[in-house]
Symmetry: C2
């Protein structure tokens, strides 16, 4: 797998991922550890909530998106290192049985002013369910090495 | 614990959390599941990376922040439901042995135009390590019920 340097990125490039299926047990396990709210843990409580049924924590969706990205075709030389996000939203909930994949597009590429030999690649990563509906949109700037950087 | 409705929120209010300690095993466990990159998994590889030592995935920091928020003093009536974030950054890495807490401040409160009986509370949540250094800043708008809303 070719590793990508700052010079290899250009606006409009697209990167993809494999697929990951999420079941109710995984939704509950993540929620128990990190987001223990009834609508992420219990079917009956979830039916009576805003979500009207068991829904994955948005942070679970974000974590699954990262997994898909790390194993996808976007492979910066130094790894996927998120510097900051300027947009993160969850247009619809992830439900038990959903199968997710990620489509990433490069929005901007620029050298770093303060960190010689590095730059930032701004990407929009859209996470889709098996119906092609977006469940997360993330616009994040990644810290990427330039070719021949000292490291 | 009093549950808070939209009318209970006002700009400048502050909410706090307990503390959570993160060890190397938890960092590796999260990374193996969601962010399997060498600098989150292996000490030697981490020393040679951008992070210069084992570092938690930013998404692990985000998930731990959610856990602290859910168990903290910010308690909207319908639960903590993130609608979207307009800022998410990790000013420094979370390291093995770090102890985290969260300070949240209300930045804006407004009714929803499209969802009667609900509104949005925009909060800045700053996650601090045991030295008082920020490891995450998140500006997120929460969906919050108004008092007497149909649900």
């Amino acid at each position: 797998m070719t590793r990508l340097y700052l010079e290899d990125f250009a606006v409009g490039q697209k990167y993809g991922s494999g697929k990951l299926r999420v079941d109710a047990a995984a939704i509950r396990e993540f929620a128990a550890a990190f987001d223990p709210q009834p609508f992420h843990l219990d079917d009956d409580a979830a039916r009576a909530s805003f979500f009207q049924g068991l829904a994955a924590s948005g942070w679970h969706t974000a974590a699954l998106t990262m997994r898909l990205l790390v194993e996808g075709s976007l492979r910066p030389a130094g790894g996927i290192i998120g510097a900051w996000a300027e947009e993160l939203k969850w247009p619809r909930a992830v439900r038990p049985g959903d199968e997710l994949e990620v489509q990433a597009e490069v929005l901007a590429v620029r050298p770093s002013g303060s960190r010689p030999g590095h730059g930032f690649v701004k990407c929009r990563s859209t996470t889709l369910n098996q119906h092609g509906e977006p469940v997360q949109v993330l616009v994040m700037s990644l810290l990427v090495q330039a070719r021949g950087a000292a490291g």
